[in-house]
């Protein structure tokens, strides 16, 4: 019984983890049809923000929850102004440009901080007991944060004026423009928001995984596949993709060892895309955000 609870907890954490690393990418892809290959590096920058800040004596919670999204969001806005805005509507070119950006950021961070950084950020919460088993309290916290984050993004898109205008712009940019919306600004804000969410995720994961300039590579493929499998809806898509792929991964990892967990994840993604070429939300929950 304890084992079942412990395994279930790991399963849910795996799903939340996948959702957390994918959400920033999903916002940028879902709203702007831009596939951001530098997404992994945004996560990496969030992690570095936390490490640098805590090493400088900043409180770790402040660094993770406020500083990381702020810094990376700002970087996102700068990137959008300098790079992305020239490339709207050219999906493949943005793919390429963001890949260049990803290399550039890895190179920059390596030049500044060196190949490995001495980090001493450890997960700030204790452990929780499940009978004979124990799990990290921080993992529970991350599950909570993921839920809150989804709720916050939902509220922003559904309940605020900004969200309404943004959704309108994404559906029909010309019409919004004609109605007096500054589409330019909306794109900038959306990209910044997506980057900020990625920065937050990266900052939160830093105590679990540590930071390296090349850590983004371990995230990008998984995030990418989750978002595409999920389909165009930002929240429903990411949630559906994470539950399905994270679930498959977790179950297989427990049954057969990590070796085939990730292979199972990828195979599931392919079968899914064969059955539902436009992702889960291309078929189900079409009206969702």
């Amino acid at each position: 019984m304890d084992l079942v609870v412990a395994v279930l907890f790991q399963l849910i954490y795996g799903i939340a983890n996948l959702a957390l690393i994918s959400l920033g990418l999903a916002i940028i892809f879902g709203m702007m049809r831009v596939i951001n290959l530098a997404h992994g590096e945004f996560l990496m920058l969030g992690g570095y923000t936390v490490v640098v800040a805590t090493n400088a004596g900043v409180n770790i919670w402040f660094a993770m929850l406020i500083l990381a999204p702020l810094v990376v969001g700002l970087i996102g806005v700068i990137v959008e102004r300098l790079l992305i805005r020239w490339l709207y509507g050219r999906m493949v070119d943005t793919l390429l440009a963001t890949w260049g950006l990803s290399l550039l950021l890895i190179g920059l961070v390596t030049s500044i901080f060196g190949a490995s950084t001495g980090t001493t950020v450890s997960p700030p919460l204790g452990t929780i007991r499940i009978g004979d088993y124990s799990a990290s309290g921080y993992e529970l916290f991350l599950i909570g944060v993921t839920l809150v984050l989804f709720a916050a993004v939902y509220a922003t898109l559904k309940l605020t004026k900004l969200g309404l205008v943004a959704r309108g712009t994404m559906q029909n940019a010309e019409m919004s423009s004609a109605l007096g919306v500054s589409t330019n600004r909306i794109y900038m804000i959306t990209f910044g928001l997506g980057a900020a969410v990625s920065g937050l995720a990266g900052g939160l994961l830093a105590p679990m995984t540590g930071v390296l300039p090349t850590i983004g590579a371990t995230y990008i493929a998984k995030a990418f596949i989750t978002v595409i499998s999920g389909g165009a809806s930002i929240l429903a898509g990411t949630a559906a993709g994470s539950v399905l792929l994270g679930g498959v991964n977790g179950i297989f990892a427990f049954l057969t060892g990590p070796t085939f967990g990730e292979v199972a994840l990828l195979v599931a993604a392919i079968i899914l895309l064969r059955l539902l070429p436009t992702g889960i939300t291309g078929r189900f929950f079409r009206k969702s955000i």
Partner: protein, 414 residues
Amino acid sequence: MSFSRRQFVIGSSALALAAPATVGRAQSDAIKFASILDLSGGLDIYGAPMAETTKLAIEDINATGGLLGREVELTMYDAQSTIQFYTQYATQAAAGDRAHTVHAGITSASREAIRPTLSRFQTLYFYNVQYEGGVCDYNNFCTGSTPAQTVAKVVPYAMEKWGKKVYIVAADYNYGQITAQWMQKFVAENGGETLDVEFFPLDVTNFGPTINKIQTAKPDFVISALVGGSHVSFYRQYAAAGMNAEIPIASTTFGVGNEQKLISAEEGNGILASYGYFEGADNPVNTAFLERLKAKLGDDAPVMNELAIRSYEGAMLWAEAVKAAGTPDRGPVIEALRSGLSYDGPSGAVTIDPQTNHCNMNVYIGELQDQEWTIVESYDNQPPADTALVCDLNANPNQSTFLFENGLAAAGID
């Protein structure tokens, strides 16, 4: 590998054909030393300190007047964590630069990619990394420690300290697989029991399911051969689940990329590891070396680990051999090295074992305390007994193989 000898012969004639081209190029009088390491990409956490000590070694050699009155010229290539560049730069160093020696490679894959190339072009090759053992190559000197030197020490030490039931976690590639086989062998030999062996692809970062399994199995300790930046997560998540207080960890890989600096003191305290070198090695050469490094690099100086020290000692062993041979030419230098050449380096005395072209060396067991290794046990002059089981270059010098490529069973070790 039935083709390799023939290839060797063909290669030699190719070299003869190409030789006239170099006559005009041999302008500079310098002795050429080439280094190929990963200085960018995922493996740079290992490559960067190795590059620093290689540079230091060449500076030290030149500061004392070079070799045979000639300056030593260092060419460094960054293989960018890509195998294809290893082959390419090895070809360039051997056939283009006409390097007298090439010190190169971090992963076994990179070593296996360039070994045939350097044999073909008859260029002396040093591999300065701790690895799974089993290379038997007249042209290739492996200065790093092998499982019979480290695993064989840390397994009984940990079993003595913690108990007989062992859970093995290892990286899923050649090194991890073979090291895990050695671990099982040494656990069994010492009367212990291996509860489970799990292998992890190098990019795995979530170890939750495994931690559950370890909790179910309840071993006396976990022994790890996890490798690389992603696998550092294991130690963090293990500690986050409160496991480090319950089931201790020993490792043969933790620390080789200075992982002890990547996790916090509380997460790492108590981990045991075994290497051919720790910074605390107690000898005057080491003290002087660390001071010089500090003077040169200041606070940027990386923590010295076995890879970094072997890169230094490998270069120095080569330099000693050149002095002894009186020429930088390959044949006499190999003869000098294989005469049982010894060098007193920061890790202690390192002596070439002519049977295997590996080294007899001191081995240390360290315990992690506040991100620093404390040496708790040391063993002098340990032979590369694993490779020696299968390789005898004295009896048959015409060898250029990697005997453990197909696992221990295939090499005739049970």
